[in-house]
Structures are given as structure tokens and as C-alpha cells.
Amino acid sequence: MASAQEPKRMVGMALTVIGILLLLYAIASGLMNGQIGTKSTAIAPDVAAFIVGWFAILIGPALWLGEVPAAIRRRAGRS
């Protein structure tokens, strides 16, 4: 069972790391330029990183640390 979960955890960990890096890049770019993205039709790399990083952060930890935390199990009376 643990080995079946392993690839999922690895993908989750990779997504989390990629998400954090992309978000940091977008935040730093925003600090330097005073804004993230542009008003032109083309999608700027920093805004793309901001959005993709956001989704990676939303999904990544769920896959990586996916199972229900022990603290919540205990509250529900489950071991």
C-alpha cells in the first residue's frame, strides 16, 4: 500500500517545490517591476509563473501529504 502511494507523493513533492519556485519568481519580478504581468494581450512569463505556481501549490501538498492528518483522525475517534 505504501509503495502504491509513493509515485503520488513524489509527484506531489515535485509540484510543491516547482510551485514555490514559480511563486517566488513571480513575487520577485513584481517587486522589481512594480507589477506582475502586463496589460498587453500576450501573456507575460511572470504572470504565467504566478498562475501555474498557484495551481501547483494548491495540488502539490494535497498529493504529497495527502492522507488525513493524525490530529483530525483523533478528533473523529479514529486511530
Binding site: 511563486l23 513575487i27 513584481g30 517587486l31 512594480g34 507589477q35 506582475i36 504581468g37 502586463t38 496589460k39 498587453s40 494581450t41 501573456i43 507575460a44 504572470v47 504566478f50 498562475i51 498557484w54 495551481f55 501549490i57 494548491l58 495540488i59 501538498p61 494535497a62 501529504l65 492522507e67 488525513v68 492528518p69 490530529a71 483530525i72 483522525r73 478528533r75 473523529a76 475517534g77 479514529r78
Partner: protein
Amino acid sequence: MKVLLVFIVVLLVYAIAYLYYGKRILSEKIVRASADRETPAIARFDGVDYVPANRYVLFGHHFASIAGAGPIVGPAIAMAYGWFLPLFWVLFGNVFMGAVHDYLSMMASVRYGGISIVSISENLMGRTARYLFLIYVIFTLILVYAAFASIAARLFAANPSVATISILFMPIALLTGILMYRLGLDLRVVTVIAAALVVIAYIYSYNVGTFFGPFDPNKSPAEGGWVAYHRWVLILGLYSILAASLPVWYLLQPRDYINAYLLWFSLGLATVSVLLLGLRDLQAPAYTSFSPKIIAGVETPFWPAIPLIIACGSLSGFHSLVASGTTSKQLASELDALMVGYGGMLTEGALSSFAVIIPISLAWQAPELVGNVIPEGETILKLSPVQRYVVGYGYTVASVFDNVGVSFETGYKFFSIMAALVLSMYILTTLDTSTRLARFAWQELFDWMRRYNEVAYTVLTNKWIASLIIVLAGTFLAYPVLNFGTPEEPSWQAAYLIVWPAFAGANQMLAAIALMTSSLWVYMILRIRGALSALIMVPAVFLWFTVTSALVWWLWKVFPVYQAKSALQAYGAGSMVFFTLVLSLLLMALFVVALLRARAASS
């Protein structure tokens, strides 16, 4: 009228309502809530939707989900009646209908194993009522999704700072959840860390906006005026599918816990400011007219039309879906329902009273605002409803800070932007909660299929597929931008607005039906009789009669106005009002039959 007098009256009403009506009557005498009875969060724990939560965390989720823009926009519009009638409706509706409706929907759901108020109707009014109710609810929730996706996309496109803070808020919420549940840190420590990160994110977002292409609502989509809007609609769709399918402990609980602190901070600031300005007089008139021109420029009588104007601050059907949808599945103890359900609704009323009605009444025609924010010779009513709230809030808090050395201009700018940002945070919560609730209703709608085709049932009710169907339907209404004006004078708006004018009626009818279902539960299952039973049933029937009358009034007076302006909107909204009216009559008939049967059985 002195502000202090109104403040004391409002506070007394809420204190008496909570301690006497909520605790003594509803919780102890009618429902007989007990800590010994296992809740569905424990009995049916699944780690995804059924997860027990700390009551303060759950209060945050429940409040953030039910709040949205409703308790702000409705009372701000109703200020056209003067301040007395909106305040009266907020207090009366809140205590006797709204909070009762939320609390009983939650407790009925808890006693039925966490199923929605819709499915409870089957046990009380039969199978027909249940499926009619479910179809109606899914339709209403898709409309809520479309409206909030469109409002959020437009807000992000027009206010890049709001987009930045909204995105940064989610990783902070995830981190809060990990610190709270995974690492087991003390809740107070987690709260301090989360608050510090939110402040940093706020300062960053205040200075760095997120731009996602051009946005000019005066241009057509073909001219490229809606590029950013369309991109945000698609991104929010993807976000909603994810957020509505992920386990509640992972994102929803921690995010709404932080949201609650934002609420307490903004509400506390408004309340303290109102108190400190207590010796001032309310500048708005107490009463203007019983029928000022409000809905579609038509003379709008306070009764029966008021539920079409003020929803969440007083009562709202959407709340019964949250209370019996996500909240009832996370309640760790029956005793927590009083604070979360009844208290959550009273807090909404307090928000409407202290952060909207009184501040707008103070800023009514303030000399500091006339000439720059409010046009010369006009009152605050000249502004849009959201602007009335933002200006009223900013004015009230800035007036206090002005007395301690912060210039009015600086304070006003800072606090009015803060008011807008706080409002935007609730929109995202409502967006993914409505998707999750629609998913629940969708899954319940197809439960009959399980007996005939297990595979088809499993596929159709899979949480990802169900969320996808709801989001696709909502996006279908939110994405297209149509011309609601003429070719000479175009007015570009999202397509959902075709049916949106009817939403208020649909939502309030939902409240009436949910309250009637709850009153049947009290009468038939809890076997409460006499005055206590009447205390629930009389407001339920009064609400049904008021909303039905309001819908008839809408078809009679408002429909012709829309017909002259836009046939598309008239027939789109008109057919929905008509459908709501037919459904309400059918459900009322089922309610009466069920009640008569119950009376015959008990005599």
C-alpha cells in the same frame, strides 16, 4: 437620532436573541441539543467532506461562506428607504427568521446524518418535493457560481491588487492548515503566524498588482476589451473544481479560519468606530418613503419587496444549503451549532448594522466627501451600492483616526481600500462553496440510479466529474459577454445577467421552503406543539407569503419595464420568476398536506 442610542438598541437585541431565543428556546427547549449525541462528522468520518472541526475554525468557514457580498450590498441599496426600515428588517428578519432558518437547517441535517435540507424534505413532504427542490437548488447554485465567477473575474481584471492578494491568500491558508493539523502547533501560534503573513501579503499586493491582459468594459470583446476578464473566468473555473474537490481540512477550513479574523477585524474596527462616534447624529433621514424607486427604477414598496433587496443580512436561502451542506458535516458537537449557526447569522446582521447601515447614515452628505466622492448637492445614494459601503466604512473609521492625528485623507484612502479588499476575499469563498454544495445536490439527485446502473452512478457522481459539470454550466453563463444596450449605445455585460434580476426571488423562496421544511421537522419529528411550534411555523408561513407576494409584484410591475428595455433580460428573468412561483405553490401544497397528515396522525 444619536448613534449611541441605535448602537445600544442593536446590541441589546442581539444579546437577548442569542442568550434567550437561541440558547434557551431553540437549543435547549426545541432541539434539545446534546454533547452526548454523536454528530455525522464523527459517525460518518471520511476525511474529505465529513471531518470534525474546532468550533472557531468552523465558525470561520460558515460565516465566510454565507457572507459573500450579500450583507453589504442589500442594506446599502435599501438605504433608499432611510435608515430605520432597513435596520428594522435586518433585526426582525435576522432574529426570527434568518438565524432560526440557519440553525434549524443545520441541526435537522445533523440529526439526519449530514444530508442536505433538500433531502430532508423527502422524509417530511415526500419524494416529489425532494426532486423538485433538488433541481431548483442546482439551478440556483449554478447561477450563484456564474454570478460570483463573473464578479470576481471583473474585480480581478479591474483591480489588479485584489487579484494579487486573493492568489497569495491561498498558499498562506494551506500553510496554516499544515501548521495546525500536520505539525500540531497551538492554534494561537498558528493564528499569529497567519495574521503576520496576511499583513505582509496585503502590503505587497497594495503595491504590486497582477495584470492579465487588457480590460476595458466599454469596448466589445471583439475589440479586445474583455481579454483579462475571460482569462480570469477560466482560471477561477479551474480553481473552483480543485477547491471544491479537495478535502475540507486541507484548504477550506484553514482558509475560512483566516477569513473569519479578517471579518472580526473589519467588523470590530467598524463597531468601535461607531461607538466612539456615538454622540454624533445620524445624518441620513430615518424614513424617506414607503415606495422609493429601487428595483429597475420602479416604485418599490417596502412590503412585500424588501426580501428581494436585503438577503444575507436578514435571511437567505443559500444559508440553508451551507448549513446543511458543508457545515453540518464538520460539526464536532451538537452544542457548537448555536454559536456557528445562530451566532453566525447574528454576526451577519451585526455586519449589516455596524459596518453598512450606520456608517452610510453617518457619511450621508458629509462635507469631507461632498464635491470629491459625492457629487455637489447629492447624497451618498448617488453612488453604487458597493461604493456606498466602501465610502461609508472609510469615512467612519477615518473620522475616528482623524481625532488621534491621522489625517482624514490618509485614513479614508487606507480604510476604504481595506473595505474593498475584505469584501473581495468573501467572493472566492462563496465561489468554491457553491460549487461544493452543487456537487452534493448533484450527487443526491442521481442516488436513484445506483439501483439500476452502479457504474453509471459512480461515474456521474464522481466528485471531480460532478464539480466539472457544475463549473462548466456556470462558466457557460459567466464567460460570454453580450450587448445589453443598443448598437448605438452598447452596454457590455456577462450573459448571466439575463436571469440575474430573478435571483433574489429564487434565493428568498428557497429560504421560505427551507424554513417550512424545518418547521415541519420541529412539528413532526421533534413533536413540539403549541406556542413553541408556532414560533417557528408562523414566521415560515409569513416569509412564504411575503416572498410569493413579492414575486407576483415583480411580474406585475417590474417585468414590463424590462420588456421595454431588453426583451432578452425580460423573458430570461421573467421565466425564472414564473418557474419559482409555480414551484413555490407546489411545495406549499405539499407542506399543507404533510402538516394535515401529521395532525391527523397525532389526534
